[in-house]
Amino acid sequence: MSFIRRLVGNAPPRILWSLAILLALLLVAPALLGKYWLSVLILILYFAFVGQAWNILMGFAGQLSLGHALYAGLGGYIAAGLYFHYGIGPWAGVFAAVVVAGMAGAIVGYLGFRFSLAGVYFALLTIAFSEFTRVAFDHWEWAGGSGGLFLKVEAVTDIINLRGGPVLFYYVILGLAAGAFILCRALLQSRLGQYWLAIREDAEAAQAVGVPVLRCKMIAIVISAALTALAGVWNAFYYNNLFPETAFAMGRSIEITLAPIIGGLGTLFGPIVGAVVLTGLGEAFTDLGDVLRIPGIKQIFYGLALLVIVMYRPAGVWPWLADKLGLKERQP
């Protein structure tokens, strides 16, 4: 009970009720929505989840990573490869995926943090790791090389091996997104979370008052990488194919960062709100492009919309929205 009480903290009752209603609606959504809207909702939850994972490193600990596709790709490939070659189901394979991605995160983090690479230099390091991993996977036969790794599609629902239709994957990603939300809340409420915020604001000052900066940053990147690997596993089994060119693509890393940036960096609801806004805008502009029959118009409008949001809500949509809805947490 004390954990729940600590988790709830100073959150106003209306936010708790809103969350409960939202969760209830999400639980019954597959029964209420058509297949298309369900697939859109799946995308929202996916981006909310990976956004939450990235937010731990950037939003909480203040370390900019532009290579998170590395962890998603590694997670996906490890779990999919274990299933494809040895029949090891994803519920077991996910542990190997998380360990490998966590270790990759630790290597990137140690090189970056130990040698004081910060800001864009650390970002470049993350991009470099993602890129050379892509090249390595292009030539790794076990992972299918550049020709890709394809998982067999089964017509029956098999929860043990994560084979089935969109509803199964919806509930899995809903569980992951909800779990990540709770985890992030718990982390923020913990001493570690407070250390992260201190490091984000001023690493040198934090170090001066005794915060173990290197250790805290390492924990942040390992947790962030491990969570992102979970998303990669889900992604691999949902789409059933993996290509190095897309799994480790720079574009994928950027996609991961967008929801928290637009929603509100360092906030719990930011990645969720950002994912809703971005996916909603994306779908609307896709429709507009299809109606107008002008290829690529979606990307232009999408870019303009992001520009407007970043210009007028530089702190993200959620802090502004929370303020207007009176959902700001009380300060103790």
Binding site: L38, S39, G148, V153, N241, E283, A284, P295, K324
Partner: protein, 416 residues
């Protein structure tokens, strides 16, 4: 004077409503567009934006003239084609397929890329809606046991086997056989697959030449002087390039600069050498290069109609295999509808399984699908660049001009 806007909940609600209206506004239009009357409602899923936009748009041009060609050929069908952009991404391809089916599309055609096609195929299977694959070479697409998927495009091994077999035919007809070859390939997903596929199949095909070296390079390379110099140093008599467009230009430019004139340049199933932009940039140096790829049959009455309609509607664009295969995808859909006389998925799928289309546009036997849903009758053609135009020179029954091999030198008078 400063203006202060007061944010009340009502104001916020109004803003949210306005935003939702803005976001949702195109949707009714979209659904209205999809609900208009027609014979068979077909969703065409292509990457018309994103990294594959250029090819996706070429594919779409083939679809844009499909109904006109059907009319020319007196086919009793008019397809209602609804376009969906996959943005060159599998996740978007999947949601677009869901959207198309929700909007009432009875058949899906697409999607150029294997990853996107597999994403769509899963939706097709789960929703029980037939998918006709226009272009996608990954063998796995027809190895998964899908019940609602057929493919009218060769798999990667079929492409390579067909291309290398044609090499032997070319040597036989010309009476000149190179003894050595060098392979140069771009090291992206496609290029690496092709190079590895050629290496794997080469020993089984009893080829008359030996591959003395394989040189790969980055797709973003801005200069291929070192690679071409290394290839020239092998003294190979044949160059087998696995190109994309830009590196194809760089490679030929460098060959001209370094005065390397092998017996021939023969592409084993890759794009690049036959593309419109390649001709524009390379001018006379684009001539006499050979691509061994599936191609449009210039002797087919349907191809002639497609060429005429395409040239009328898109005078600045060259008709290529992307448009050809996409047109054929729609032809397969149309024929299935004519046979099934129904828009029900099972009836359409039955009709697809029984498909036998003798008159079509791509070189090869009748369009027919085997038990896995694969058309195995597609043949590779030798397409030689002649007078800045990709021209079929083999097989003989489809040839529009005689083969020129060995390749004339870069300063030969035949290059004008």
């Amino acid at each position: 004077m400063t203006s202060h806007k007061t944010f009340t909940r009502r104001y916020l609600g109004q803003t949210a409503l306005a935003g939702a209206t803005l976001i949702g506004a195109p949707l009714p239009l979209r659904y209205a567009a999809a609900q208009t009357t027609g014979n068979l409602k077909v969703a065409l899923l292509l990457p018309t934006s994103g990294i594959q936009a250029q090819i996706g748009q070429a594919c779409r041009r083939g679809a844009d003239v499909a109904n006109d060609v059907f009319t020319d050929m007196k086919l009793p069908v008019k397809l209602e084609i609804v376009n969906y952009d996959t943005e060159s991404k599998p996740d978007v391809a999947r949601t677009q397929a869901e959207k198309a089916i929700d909007a009432g599309c009875q058949m899906l055609v697409g999607a150029f890329d294997s990853g996107q096609t597999i994403a769509i195929a899963q939706v097709a299977e789960q929703r029980g809606v037939p998918l006709v694959v226009n272009i996608a070479a990954a063998p796995q697409i027809t190895e998964q046991g899908y019940k609602f998927v057929v493919r009218n495009f060769p798999t990667a091994p079929m492409l390579i086997t067909g291309a290398l077999s044609l090499h032997k035919e070319i040597f036989k007809v010309s009476g000149k056989t190179p003894k050595t070859a060098v392979m140069m390939g771009v090291n992206d997903t496609f290029g690496t697959s092709m190079v590895n596929g050629i290496k794997a199949l080469f020993p089984k095909l009893d080829m008359p030449y030996e591959i003395v070296d394989t040189i790969t390079y980055d797709p973003a390379a801005k200069d291929l002087s070192v690679e071409v110099g290394r290839a020239k140093a092998t003294k190979a008599e044949l160059l087998i390039p696995v190109n994309r467009l830009n590196d194809a230009k760089l490679m030929i430019q460098e060959m001209v600069k370094q005065r390397w004139e092998p017996m021939g340049v023969m592409n084993p199933g890759a794009p690049g050498l036959y593309e419109q932009d390649f001709f524009k940039t390379m001018g006379k140096y684009s001539d006499f290069l050979i691509s061994n790829v599936p191609w449009l049959d210039p002797k087919s009455a349907m191809t002639q109609s497609l060429e005429k309609r395409h040239a009328a509607k898109f005078p600045n664009d060259q008709l290529d295999i992307n448009a050809g295969f996409t047109f054929e995808g729609l032809l397969v859909a149309a024929q299935a509808w004519i046979t099934a006389k129904s828009t029900k998925a099972d009836a359409l799928m039955d009709a697809l399984r029984k498909t036998k289309i003798d008159l079509h546009v791509i070189i090869g036997g009748p369009i027919q699908f085997d038990a896995k849903g694969q058309n195995v009758n597609i043949k590779a053609a030798a397409v030689e660049n002649l007078k800045r135009k990709p021209t079929v020179v083999m097989p003989a029954e489809s040839a529009a001009a005689p083969l020129v091999f060995p390749m004339p030198g870069w300063n030969d008078k035949r290059r004008t």
